[in-house]
Symmetry: C2
């Protein structure tokens, strides 16, 4: 096992009916800014639940944070928060709203150009406004970690950043808020969670037996409950398991003490920046290709994955790995998420563009051994077409 | 899944050579009191490592905290901490030292009789001194939770208490500190961890698939690595897995959202209070008996345990459950921990005494359904002889 530090102070309040307790979690006397996205929380009643719970408190609202939250939008909110002297943010929504709120939390007290929060990967963050979240879309894990992604379309940029001050103080996870989500968003969220787990699991073995088994437990639960979530949108236990899977998939726990990859995510971010493709769809395309291209480097863990997750026990190593990758691809497709760029109308002209963007963003040594170069990425993308 | 709250702010610093970084975790200017046990940390060099790391800081020491930490001993430390105006405690040792230090942390600022911290199960705790830990014995999980046990031999009492202010600020987990532990302590620790997990796993199903699989991951790791830990005391990865298992077995995570039992622990505490029997040994005796006596109430989870943990696939329900209990017993015995009271020279005269003590401590409705009465305990103890 590798040496590690693990610290996660976010308070999780999980279950039916928990939104009504949200006011207790926010310090008395706070000037609260509720942030949200495109208005679906108006339609499904979640915004009403939140404002009802905050009755009698000092509350402002900022809506319109888009999927892949945009720098220009977020800066409008930063100006509002500064001019109104807001001192607590409450993000109500999915990963994009929460990530955007993290950017706002870091930018409000930031001296200098806020874009450097992103270009420094968070190293330039000093302090942040405290914030909580009410999660409505299980996918990114942002509700219990200190990382985020921000986009700036004018620069074709989608960049990750993180900072110890960017853990939510609390997150309310009520699985019933997900009942009305479109199937496409549930599917994307399942793929996102699945790939968060594989980024921390499919590397090389370090005898981290607990981390491996926890990762496998999340993958098996996604495989079992993902399809049911689509068929039975109001199956509470299934939605609860998906929500808790998404949170535990990226809260630092399963990655503590083991190598981590993240190349699939980095390549996926560039595809989103260039073509606006949903995050989950980029991952469904890149992961199977990357696993195939990196089968030597990941051999031991891929064989473990084949056996423990897919029950594959026959054939030589390569046959087992091929079968596991095929099962992975079939699982994503069964959720309605396509696994080839052609299905999204993207041709091989993306290959030089993605490679160039990675270089531009300084992402030239990716993967658990920092040996995935833009040239390796070209080979991977050839397998994504 | 049941509704739950989960919050665990303890910072974990895990790995070889981490003790030397401990000073960074303690606020500058603190008056630090290092607490420890019987002196084994003097012999194995851990105390030297800690005092070396704290060179130049304001440090006092208090040694002599015994296994099942004793109220009278702890109160001497409370007096020292008060008179010396200590403002940070650093526990160096196993669960007993950490539990004792939690009692000290709560007692120092306590108004009134400190024993009521225990008799109120922690409800009377107001604030606590901050404290960190350097763990040297994987077993109790106390290094990453807010609970503790304190004993008062003059009253035949061993009582649990807990409070939100009693999480360690940090815990340093260096697996190499466990290399010199006697085999008996390693074995007791494995049993303790195993039973922490089963208390949260072997109840009734609530579709908490992740909690189940995480619990199973810990049990399987203990079963695989426990015997190797005894044969190869300096196998780093094995000791690392045991240490991380012990911490994750009782840090709140696997019990969040699922029913919990704890009857084995409560009965075990009374056996320790009456006969001084090691905590791990009491659990090894009580668990198999309790599982057999409660097979109807726990049927679904016992069958899952039989299949997923022990690979038992044949026979009717009762045969599978019997086989799983037999495997559990054999596992404990293989570690050198006996599973019958007779092996420890305790006869059936313990039965009325344990039942009486439970009544005296108000512990008359135990288990995940609060239906284990002192009469049920009598039946369980009959199976322990």
């Amino acid at each position: 096992m590798l040496n590690f530090k693990y610290h996660n102070p976010t308070r999780i309040i999980f279950g039916k009916g928990r939104i009504r307790t949200v006011a207790k979690e926010i310090p008395e006397g706070s000037r609260i800014l509720v942030t949200y996205g495109g208005g679906s929380i108006r339609e499904n009643g979640v915004l009403d639940q939140v404002t009802g719970a905050l009755q009698g408190r000092d509350v402002l609202e900022f809506g319109g944070i888009e999927p892949n939250p945009e720098y220009d939008t977020l800066m409008k909110c930063v100006e509002l928060a500064r001019s109104e002297r807001v001192d607590f943010l409450l993000a109500v929504g999915g990963g994009s709203v929460i990530d955007g709120t993290k950017f706002i939390a870091a930018a409000v007290p930031h001296q200098g150009d806020p874009w450097e929060i992103a270009t420094s990967f968070g190293r330039r963050v000093g302090s942040s406004l405290p914030f909580g979240t009410v999660l409505t879309l299980p996918a990114t894990g942002s509700e219990m970690n200190n990382g985020a992604v921000v986009s700036r379309r004018s620069l074709n940029a989608k960049l990750s950043f993180g900072h110890p001050s960017l853990f939510p103080v609390f997150s309310v996870l009520d699985p019933t808020t997900t009942y009305t989500l479109p199937a496409e968003q549930i599917s994307n969220g399942i793929v996102d969670t699945f790939v968060h787990v594989t980024e921390q699991y499919l590397t090389y073995p370090v005898q981290g037996k607990i981390q491996d088994r926890f990762a496998e437990g999340l993958l098996l639960t996604l495989i079992e409950d993902g399809p049911i979530a689509l068929k039975e949108p109001e199956n509470y236990d299934v939605r609860a398991n998906l929500m808790w899977c998404a949170t535990l998939g990226l809260n630092g726990l399963i990655g503590a003490g083991v190598p981590q990859d993240w190349a699939t995510h980095m390549v996926g971010h560039e595809l989103t920046a260039l073509y606006g493709l949903d995050h989950g769809k980029t991952l469904a395309v890149v992961l199977p290709a990357l696993l195939s291209a990196r089968r030597s480097e990941k051999r031991d863990k891929l064989l473990q994955y084949a056996q423990r997750i897919w029950g594959i026990a026959e054939g030589d190593d390569d046959a087992m790995i091929d079968a596991a990758i095929e099962k992975t691809r079939a699982f994503f497709e069964s959720l309605g998420v396509h696994t080839a760029l052609s299905a999204y109308g993207i041709s091989n002209e993306c290959i030089p563009r993605v490679a160039e963007l990675l270089e531009q963003h300084g992402l030239t040594r990716l993967g658990e051994r920092s040996d995935i170069t833009p040239e390796t990425v070209r080979n991977i993308l050839e397998l994504c077409l």
